[in-house]
Symmetry: D2
Subunit: 293 residues, 4 copies
């Protein structure tokens, strides 16, 4: 494509933009705090003064922001991304937001003659940097086909899962298991530990067992030593759980393990651990079991 | 070792005995229903008329039975295994039983001058037949070292995790995640499906995501088509959950996801699904979500 | 007070208005569907063409609507209640809405020089008609003192619990126990019944035990025979549970029994029972226990 | 009846025995620690050297012990109560034990030509002393009719609920709501408190609301000030919850609120609060909400 735009150049978004630049794309970017994007300007990215300006410049515009409210903030209003869209343009939101909000936004994008795709990613910063990110895409197939080669410059596994909003739905349906698996894993470690098995041994056995999902493999060792910086903090994890529970209520799907696990994320928050990686749910349960995390 | 004994020649136990025979060991076996062991007699196994007779004949005696009650049944009484034990003999229980019961039995074995190991296995019939079974062992290290080569004829990965009862503790601490992961997985599939994503697509995406533990990988497809025969049925799964919950109460470890998930296994039982593979927990949740399993 | 206004003349609101008329107050009313308020016009109520018109006419204006969205609908916009408020007027919302939304609205009311009270009620239509309704009030004490005598014409027990939004907070904190107590009661009835005790006997014993709250006393018999018309349906009950869970997340209070119970209300919804009294949660659990409700 | 016997003269049993003496019955008693029964001997009770001796002396024998194990201990063996039973005698167990164990014991009593009733009580020491205890009875109706006048000397409300074991079943089905209602109540208090409502006010409002069961009324104030001595401690409460969960598994009744609440009793235990009244579940949740109990 002739020209790309990127709005939201934080930890994930910035690295995605970098990969697009590295792949040879012309790119205009916008971030609420310009200074945080200076390193990308140094790499050749152009600056757009507003999300609208970015959208006016580019043929395909990507967003990567924190939540539904942030997405509404960069897309709405006179300086918003929507105002800069028009026929032929494709807007790709890579954030994890409410599927309902995503679909509503897609309708407004369509009303301007443009097309929208939701394209949330699965994986962490490390996965992204290694070039192993998985990307699910929701929206019209023709728009998908046009955008697919660009998305592959961000991550190799790009899958079309259905219409607008369905990729974020699938993402949320996946992510609820992250927290639940981590809490169940913690239950197992604490049972073993209080039985008399050293925590290290318990973790090692579990990491080699049939319950060792990739998530358990990279996050399990955190119960021995928490990471300096959260990979995915309690706040972000609970945001996804809340989206899942909201979907469950709208679609009439009971979510028993999600609901119970979410209360332990709330406990983590209450205990001041909101900025920790959500693996800290182990520490919450350990306290409840009367032992040192 | 000069001679081995095996008590409990059911689906798992019989195949273990077969592997021991295939490895060249002399073996005397006992099963409550003799006819079910005929195929092993045809393969060269000798018959012992009682568990006690097997124990008197052999230097190392293995058991593989359904639960704590079955273990007490084959070990106790005048014809029981215990009565046939004496100095120098090693008794290896491969069943998944209550850690407390296992430790108590180990004490009675020691009182007769023999040694006991708990050696529960991780994996299904298929894993066993492929020769990939993992075996955790609890008990004295010297007894472990003597038995290790024999266990390796059953499955290659043999790990000593600590004193008596700790291997079954570790097994139970692992297994609770099987059911919890399966229920969380089902929540995700149903959320996706009611969002409008075909069930097949949802399963495929989840099986390639970070939540895809080996358990999820082989059991996830069961939500599309249940297996003819259960790999691990609701009854067996709930037995392990009950053991976990019992341990949690004795050791003061709260087990929130285990407790909640167990109520759905009870529901499966109430709905007449007790003989199905525990993946049927998906069907239970599907009914509660008002859709056809 | 010289003149009262009432917006939202449904099942509860209409009967409240009737009591105000019966107490001799001059009253102007508004309802989305005018025909449903005809009986009140016949009793002497005057009609206001819009919520704004009602607010312009009256000194104290009451609202009783379904939820937060309905409240925003009757208060906002050019025809909304807010536009008709001014210095000296008092706006009393008797609905159960989000405490945050209530506080935000109170600020907007204050900006127009008027005062707002949140005054949710505790009790059903029957309690109201018997003149036994309890009313909790949040907001400034001086406004409370002015309105108190009027509220006492609706129900005798009027309590000031604190500042704006705190009465709805207290209401929601109370209501979560309705659903939880009902589900726990159902667990007890089903345990007794499957033990072999006739359901009627089980209910009778429970209704005379220490767990028999007023709620259990009037709703318990519903497990023998559901009422023709819901007193408080699944939809309304879940609305309050969702408000509680939302508060729990904002205030960092884990709500384990609320969270679990809410998933059974979702199940009721999925099974097509959304319009039934929430006592139907018994029928949901009965199905899960494999017996006829 | 000519002569009564009583085994288990602790806090509850002792006061029951006192009431029987006060009603003019001849009574022989036994307690593991004789010194604790001295006050009853001073009131005219005779001493039996073993449970068997008591059973041999008396026509109707009552037991009141801690749990299933204690009941088996006083009834079994050569000195046990069973050995002293014979035709025409009636054995009344007032403890709360496993319904299955109660039924099994009733069969053994019948084999000796005697009859057994299970007659658990509902209410605390205070209720007993005020003469307001409720007693549910399971077993043959003819035996019930003979014992009824004696039970009425202990407490006025005596109800026959069905065959052997059904009274303890009904008791357990009732008691699960005690813990669940207390946890739900705690959720409400903490939500209110973190909203800004003083804890005292929140408790007062809740105690006057429709959720105020007798249990909530007498135990609710404990969240303001715990009692010096537990009325019903965490250990006893969890014993009943475990019996309920065990019944649920045998009878295939899912018990979602019971299961979740029980994990918080386990947490109380882990935090060293096992001897506190089970109202301490509030303190557990308060810690999890990050505030001082």
């Amino acid at each position: 494509m002739a020209h790309l735009g990127f709005v939201g150049l934080g930890v994930m978004g910035g690295r995605m933009a970098k990969r697009l630049l590295a792949a040879g794309h012309a790119l205009t970017g916008y971030n609420r705090t310009k200074s945080k994007a200076q390193w990308l300007l140094d790499l050749g990215m152009k600056w757009g003064d507003t999300p609208r300006a970015v959208a006016e410049t580019a043929d395909a515009i990507f967003t990567m922001v924190t939540n539904t409210e942030a997405l509404q903030s960069v897309t709405g209003g006179p300086d918003g991304l929507l105002a800069g869209l028009g026929p032929g343009k494709i807007f790709v939101d890579m954030s994890t937001v409410s599927p309902a909000a995503s679909r509503e936004l897609a309708a407004r994008v369509a009303a301007r003659g443009a097309q929208m795709l939701d394209a949330p990613v699965s994986g962490s910063v490390a996965t992204l940097e290694e070039g192993n990110l998985s990307i699910m895409v929701g929206g019209d197939r023709d728009a998908f086909e046009k955008i697919k080669p660009i998305l592959q410059d961000i991550g190799p596994k790009v899958t079309h899962v259905g219409g607008n909003g369905l990729a974020v739905s699938m993402k949320i349906a996946t992510n609820l298991s992250l927290a639940v698996q981590m809490l169940a894993f913690s239950e197992g470690v604490l049972l073993a530990e209080k039985s008399g098995i050293p925590r290290e041994t318990a973790v090692e056995v579990l990491l080699h067992s049939v319950i060792a999902s990739p998530m358990v493999k990279y996050r399990g060792p955190f119960v021995l030593k928490m990471p300096e910086e959260a990979w995915f903090d309690v706040n972000m994890m609970q945001k996804d759980m809340n989206l899942a529970l909201e979907m469950g209520r709208h679609l009439d799907v009971p979510l028993p393990t999600t609901a119970v696990t979410n209360e332990f994320l709330t406990t983590a928050r209450a205990l001041g651990l909101v900025k920790e990686d959500f693996a800290v749910i182990f520490a919450v349960l350990a306290r409840m079991a009367g032992i040192k995390p």
